[in-house]
C-alpha cells in the first residue's frame, strides 16, 4: 500500500481533472429483426464533476447501453449527453469505458496494452514513463512484459484499469468491472478503486449488479427500472471513506435499495 501511495504521487498531477456529465431526455432503441426495441426511456441525470455515481438495475435494462452512449461510442436515438456543456458526439480518450471483460489485446504484452492510448495518439515516445507509472499504480510492474493470457482475472482487470488511467481520464465509465472476479479479489479491487478515485478525483460512473459494491464506492446510487429503463429511485450515500460493509447506515440503505429492486430481505 505504501508503494502504491508513492506511485500515486509519482503520476504528474495538477488540479483534479474531471468533468460534469449532463444527460438530458435520453432515449435509445435498437433495431431487432425489423422491430424497435426501446432500451432507455427519457433518462435525465446530472453527475457533478468528481462525483462517484453507481447505476443499479435489473439485468438487460439498458445500463451498458447508457454507458456506451456517455462514452460516445454510440449516439442516442433521442436526447443529448454533454460533458461540461459540450455535446458528446464521438468517443474521446478523456472519457474511458472499462468493460466487464478486460478485453486486453492478447497478441501483445501488458505494457503495450497499457500504452495503447498514448500510442494511438502518437505521444507514446515522449511519455513512456506514464505507462510505467500506470502499471505501478495497479501493482503490475513485474508483469509489464507478460502476455494477457498469463494474467489472472484480477490482474487482467487491473491491467485494463491501467490502460484507462494512463490517459488521465476526466470521466471513468466502469461497466461491471469486477463482475467476473472471485469475492476476495473483488474486495481488494473495490478498495483500490476507491483509493484511486479519492486520489485523482476523476468523475466516475459505475454500473454494478452488487448493491453492496455500489454503497461501498459511490456517493450516489441510481436505481433503474426494467427495460425500457427509466430512473426509479436515487439514494445519496453520505458516508466517509473508507466505508465498512457493516456500517448500520449502509446496511439500512442496502435494505432500502433491495426493496426498490423488488428483492425484499
Amino acid at each position: 500500500m505504501a508503494s502504491q501511495a508513492a506511485a500515486l504521487r509519482a503520476v504528474p498531477e495538477g488540479a483534479p481533472h474531471n468533468v460534469a456529465v449532463d444527460i438530458r431526455g435520453v432515449s435509445h432503441a435498437f433495431k431487432l429483426r425489423g422491430a424497435d426495441l426501446p432500451v432507455l426511456d427519457s433518462i435525465d441525470l446530472s453527475v457533478a464533476a468528481g462525483e462517484f455515481v453507481a447505476l443499479l438495475g435489473p439485468s438487460g435494462c439498458g445500463k451498458s447501453t447508457l454507458l456506451r452512449l456517455i462514452s460516445g461510442l454510440d449516439q442516442p436515438t433521442a436526447g443529448s449527453i454533454a460533458a461540461d456543456g459540450e455535446v458528446i458526439d464521438s468517443p474521446d480518450p478523456s472519457r474511458i469505458l472499462v468493460f466487464q471483460d478486460p478485453t486486453l489485446f492478447p497478441w501483445t504484452t501488458v505494457w503495450r496494452n497499457v500504452a495503447t492510448g498514448l500510442d494511438a495518439r502518437g505521444v507514446l515516445e515522449r511519455q513512456r514513463g506514464r505507462v510505467d507509472d500506470a502499471l505501478k499504480l495497479v501493482g503490475l510492474s513485474n508483469f509489464a512484459s507478460a502476455h494477457p493470457h498469463q494474467l489472472s482475472g484480477g490482474m487482467a482487470q487491473r491491467a485494463a484499469l491501467a490502460r484507462a488511467l494512463v490517459n488521465d481520464p476526466a470521466l471513468l465509465l466502469l461497466d461491471e468491472p469486477l463482475g467476473k472476479l472471485d469475492s476476495l479479489t473483488r474486495l481488494t479491487l473495490q478498495a483500490e478503486l476507491v483509493a484511486l478515485w479519492r486520489e485523482k478525483r476523476f468523475t466516475a460512473i459505475l454500473v454494478t449488479h452488487d448493491v453492496e459494491e455500489a454503497l461501498l464506492l459511490a456517493s450516489r446510487v441510481i436505481v433503474f427500472s426494467e427495460r425500457p429503463a427509466h430512473i426509479k429511485a436515487e439514494f445519496k450515500v453520505d458516508l466517509p471513506y473508507p466505508r465498512h460493509r457493516d456500517n448500520p447506515q449502509l446496511v439500512a440503505l442496502r435494505r432500502q435499495i433491495l426493496g426498490t429492486l423488488g428483492l425484499e430481505t
Binding site: S71, L73, L97, F99, T103, T116, A120, H149
Partner: protein, 336 residues
C-alpha cells in the same frame, strides 16, 4: 544368438541407472538393428548379380555401408548425449525401417527384377541420377525456387492486402466478395489459356498462375479473419483515440493473423500443386519441366529422383512457415 543379444540389451536398459556410476554402459539397441538392416542392404547391392544393370551400385553400397558403421558407433555414443540420444531413441524405428526398405527395394528391382525397368528403379538408380545429372538438377532447383518464390510471394502479399481490404471496408466487400466467391473455386490452372494472351512471357504467366493459386486462400481467410475480430477490440481502440489506420494496423491485422496463417498454409499447398503445371507453359528449366521431359523419354528413375527433391523442398518450406507461425503466434495460449 539373437536371444543372447536381446538379453544383453534388456540387461543394459534395466541397468541404465547404474550406468551413470560407470558400472555398465547403456546401448542404443535400435541403432544396432538399423546398422544390421543398412549393412544387409549394402551387402545385397554388391554381392548379388543384377538382372538389369543400373549405375552407381558401388557408391550406393559405400554410402549405405558407411551409414551402417555410423549406426554401430552411435549405438554406443548416443546414450551418453542427452539431447541427441533422445533424438536417436525417438527415430530409431524409422532408421531400422529405412534400412529394411532399401534392402527390399534393392532386391525387388535390380536383383530379382520383379519391379521392372524402366518403370521402377533401385535406390542406386536414383543415386546415379544425382551423380550424373546434378548440374542440370541444381539449375532446375534454382528456376523452380525462383518461380515459386515470386509466385507465392506476390500471391501472399496481394492476397493479404486484398483480404484486409475486403474484411475491413464495406464497399470493398460489396464489390469484391461476389467476385472472389465466383473466381475463388475455379482451379488456378483453368486460367492458363487467357494468361497466354495477357502476359508478355510464359514466365510471367507461370508466376501469375502460382500467385493466383496461393493468393486466393490467403485473401479468403484474411478477409474472414478481419471480419471476425471481436468488435470490443475496436471499441477499446476508438475509445482510446485510435484513428482508422491504427485500428487496421494494430488491431485488425494482429487479431486476424491466426486466420491468415491458415490461408498461407493452404496457399502453400496449392502453390506446390500448380508449380509443376505452371512449368509446363513452355519453361526451359525447372523441376516440373524436368519431370515432364524425363517422363516423355521414359526416364522414370530421373522422375523419381526429382520427385524426392521436390518433396524435400516442399517439406522444408512448410517447416519454415511453421517456424514463422510459432514465433509470430506465440501469444496464442495453447496454440501448439
Amino acid at each position: 544368438m539373437s536371444n543372447a543379444i536381446e538379453a544383453l540389451g534388456v540387461g543394459a536398459a534395466a541397468g541404465s541407472p547404474a550406468a551413470a556410476s560407470g558400472a555398465r554402459t547403456p546401448i542404443w539397441r535400435a541403432g544396432l538393428a538399423a546398422a544390421a538392416a543398412w549393412a544387409a542392404a549394402a551387402v545385397v547391392t554388391v554381392a548379388l548379380p543384377d538382372v538389369v544393370p543400373w549405375g552407381s551400385k558401388e557408391l550406393f553400397a559405400v554410402i549405405v555401408g558407411a551409414a551402417a558403421a555410423a549406426f554401430v558407433a552411435l549405438s554406443f555414443v548416443a546414450p551418453r548425449l542427452p539431447r541427441f540420444g533422445a533424438f536417436c531413441e525417438h527415430y530409431g524405428p524409422w532408421f531400422v525401417a529405412i534400412g529394411v526398405w532399401f534392402f527390399l527395394w534393392e532386391l525387388t528391382t535390380a536383383k530379382f527384377g520383379w519391379l521392372p525397368k524402366p518403370f521402377f528403379s533401385p535406390p542406386n538408380g536414383l543415386l546415379n541420377v544425382y551423380v550424373t545429372e546434378w548440374r542440370r538438377l541444381l539449375i532446375c532447383i534454382g528456376y523452380t525456387l525462383r518461380l515459386w518464390a515470386l509466385g507465392f510471394g506476390l500471391g501472399a502479399i496481394v492476397g493479404y492486402a486484398a483480404g484486409v481490404a475486403l474484411g475491413w471496408s464495406k464497399s470493398f466487400a460489396y464489390w469484391g466478395m461476389p467476385i472472389l466467391k465466383l473466381i475463388g473455386p475455379v482451379p488456378a490452372t483453368a486460367w492458363i489459356p487467357c494468361t497466354f494472351f495477357f502476359f508478355p512471357t510464359t514466365f510471367d504467366a507461370s508466376v501469375f498462375i502460382v500467385a493466383l493459386a496461393s493468393g486466393i486462400p490467403v485473401t479468403i481467410l484474411t478477409a474472414s479473419g478481419v471480419g471476425s475480430v471481436n468488435k470490443a477490440y475496436y471499441d477499446v481502440g476508438r475509445n482510446l483515440g485510435a484513428k482508422p489506420w491504427y485500428l487496421i494496423s494494430r488491431i485488425a491485422v494482429p487479431a486476424s493473423l491466426p486466420h491468415t496463417f491458415v490461408g498461407l498454409f493452404m496457399g502453400l499447398y496449392y502453390s506446390f500443386a500448380v508449380l509443376v503445371v505452371a512449368e509446363m507453359l513452355g519453361a526451359k528449366y525447372g523441376l516440373g519441366w524436368y519431370i515432364q521431359f524425363q517422363t516423355a523419354y521414359s526416364g522414370y528413375a530421373n522422375v523419381y529422383a526429382t520427385l524426392v527433391i521436390m518433396a524435400l523442398i516442399c517439406a522444408g518450406i512448410v517447416k519454415l512457415l511453421f517456424v514463422a507461425r510459432d514465433r509470430l503466434l506465440s501469444w496464442q495460449e495453447g496454440f501448439i
